[in-house]
């Protein structure tokens, strides 16, 4: 493992890749910091740039964007009291009041350092767990993959924000949209209406760009013209030693950070739910366990620590199912999956055997990006604050142009550009109807995996469903999926005041 990691670092430390990663982290932080832009958007928009790069350079750029954007959310959470991304909602609770008390730099410093620690912790966990899980997953056949896909689908649809029915509907609709094109196994054309362009179905990237970027622009057209604009307060970096907090304060936060890191990692591994949930969960538990729970929400450092450690620990967590099983843990890793496929690499257990050096280059890129993030975000803070002031009515049209370029770049056809508009309108309709978009995306990606493996499994067993239930791993996941749906149904009918449930639902 050390040899491979050394090779990975060797690849990452070339001038070309380092430069790409510095740019990636900086752009990522901006996308995380500006409310309305997200990590998903950053990775989706930059994916077309990697087409002409090799897989090592391309994937290094994409993971550096992921890390920058996940952490960047804390800047606007603390300075503007608006979470830049859903994963930094809980950072606002105490980061905002700290800023009001004049401890803005300390809040930012704490947030950035614990973002760093959370990310590093999760990447190390990823490096140790992933090869083991991959070894185990090598034995998986169609039955296991089908059941894991079904389990993941039920998990995301029921846990997504808002009503469970709407979440499930979104997941099923995403699955339905994925059935457009040539069917697996049998190769008949479905729902193509004789358009040759639809034979291959909708490209994953057009769906994502449409749902997340184009929809956002339409949303701004609706609301962005109102005059109020939050303005970032200036922070003074004078007389700041280190990262703005003392060693004693740091030591006091270690138990809190460890707990939050574990929560973030665990929630991140579960497919479908990620940093958007784990930061709130970690915050609540940290508040419950604190000696002075009353000070939470009034500017307690512990709140920022819990939220930021947990959301960044989700990075390694979400990468685990992606790299070992090819199942994306959230929407960002869903695009990363697209990034792998564009370079002709199929994530899954075989990745660790056939592409060992690449896997360790990704690990190295993750670690190096995290270190870059720590220094760039803190010491470049003033530049990022300036960027928060770019008016939205200038920024978003430019992003739309980049969306068009990205979609066109997929295969140089206007069909894909029209697709992003169609999915943009759909994404906007989802927002208006209160339907969460994330289950749609996961349904769209995991749907074909479930269908293909179902058909393959049935072919292997001559049409006998029983093999899905006699296979122990497959049966476990199907059982878990069923139990989970029943549990959700029961708690929907008899609403109990479970704190976790409430947080997940809001």
């Amino acid at each position: 493992m050390l040899d491979l990691l050394q090779q990975g670092f060797g690849a990452v430390f070339s001038i070309h890749i380092m430069l790409l990663m510095v740019i990636g982290v900086a752009v990522g932080i901006v996308f995380g910091a500006v409310p309305g832009l997200s990590a998903t958007m950053a990775v989706a928009l930059c994916l077309p740039l990697t087409f002409t790069m090799g897989p090592h350079a391309g994937l290094s750029l994409l993971v550096s964007l992921f890390i920058g954007a996940t952490s960047g959310g804390l800047i606007s959470a603390i300075l503007l009291k608006i979470p830049g991304t859903p994963s930094s909602i809980a950072t606002v609770f105490d980061g905002g009041p700290m800023m009001e008390k004049g401890e803005g730099v300390k809040a930012l410093g704490v947030g950035i350092v614990f973002s760093f620690l959370g990310t590093i912790f999760s990447i190390i966990a990823l490096m140790f767990l992933a090869p083991q899980l991959a070894k185990f997953a090598l034995r998986f056949g169609p039955q296991e993959y089908f059941s894991i896909a079904v389990f993941s689908l039920t998990l995301i649809a029921t846990l997504s924000a808002g009503s469970m029915v709407k979440g499930l509907f979104a997941g099923a609709l995403g699955f339905a949209v994925s059935t457009v094109g040539i069917a697996p196994v049998e190769a008949i054309r479905r729902f193509t209406f004789d358009f040759a362009e639809l034979n291959g179905g909708f490209a994953m990237l057009t769906v994502m760009i449409g749902m997340f970027a184009v929809a956002e622009i339409i949303k701004v057209a609706e609301r962005g013209r109102r005059p109020v604009e939050a303005k970032a307060e200036p922070v003074s970096m004078k007389n700041i030693k280190g990262f703005g907090f003392s060693m004693r304060e740091f030591r006091e936060q270690v138990p809190n950070a460890t707990r939050s890191g574990l929560i973030g990692l665990g929630v991140g591994i579960l497919p479908g739910i990620g940093a958007g949930t784990s930061n709130l969960l970690a915050y609540i538990i940290s508040k419950k366990r604190a000696k002075d729970p009353d000070s939470y929400g009034k500017g307690n450092m512990g709140g920022v620590v819990a939220s930021e450690t947990a959301n960044n620990a989700g990075i390694g967590g979400a990468m685990l199912p992606l790299m070992t099983l090819g199942i994306p843990g959230d929407t960002v890793t869903a695009i990363l999956l697209g990034g792998f496929l564009i370079h002709g690499i199929q994530p899954g257990p075989l990745l660790f055997i056939t592409q060992g050096p690449l896997v360790y280059t990704i690990f190295a890129a993750l670690l190096v990006s995290t270190v870059l993030m720590l220094f760039m975000e803190f010491y470049g803070l003033r530049i990022f604050i300036k960027l928060l002031e770019i008016p939205k009515h200038i920024l978003l049209p430019i992003i739309l142009v980049l969306c068009v370029v990205g979609a066109f770049g997929l295969s140089s056809r206007l069909f894909d550009v029209w697709s992003i508009l169609v999915f943009g309108v759909l994404g906007y309709a989802f927002v208006k109807a209160g339907i969460p978009p994330a289950p749609f995306i996961i349904g769209f990606i995991l749907g074909p995996m479930a269908e293909t493996n179902l058909r393959r499994g049935l072919m292997m067993s001559d049409g006998n469903f029983g093999t899905f239930l006699t296979n122990p791993i497959s049966a476990t996941f199907l059982g878990l999926a069923l139990a989970f749906v029943i549990w959700q149904l029961v708690s929907a009918i008899r609403p109990k005041k479970s704190m976790i449930n409430e947080i997940i639902r809001t």
Binding site: S163, R225, V401, F408, L454, G463
Partner: protein, 161 residues
Amino acid sequence: MATNKKTELAIAGCMLAVGIGYLLMTTQLPHHSGIDATFVPYLLSALLCMLGALHMLAAVKMPQAVQAASTPDEAAGEPLDAKAVVKTLALIVAYIALLKTVGFPIMTTIYLYLQFIVLTPVNQKVNHLVYVLIALITSAVVYTLFREAFDLMLPSGLFGF
């Protein structure tokens, strides 16, 4: 977001319509005995219709008066700008439709300039000169960058270079 009974009924109606539409399209697919390529679409149609119906049921049962928790925008008394949405959509459609014939550099400049104007907040003045400059520079930079650095041939259209 929307908790208004009428809105929820409309949403449920749309959900049901999508489910039924998908079911009708599925029935048109070639079919043979046993598990075939229509199996999953039928399953999904049933699921979509069932969820639509469930939501319809919930919306019908909803008390009329639940309006307190409407969308934050409506609660704050800020009217939503439907005109800007329609204009934005029209601009994007025109942009994509003319992209090939007129070309990326010209269309992007025009689109950006007009879109900046449409999205300018009500309390800010439209600065034509700055908008034109930003539109021109962005268009030129993106076009050249992708053509030269990333080998992506964006439609050149009337420019022809």
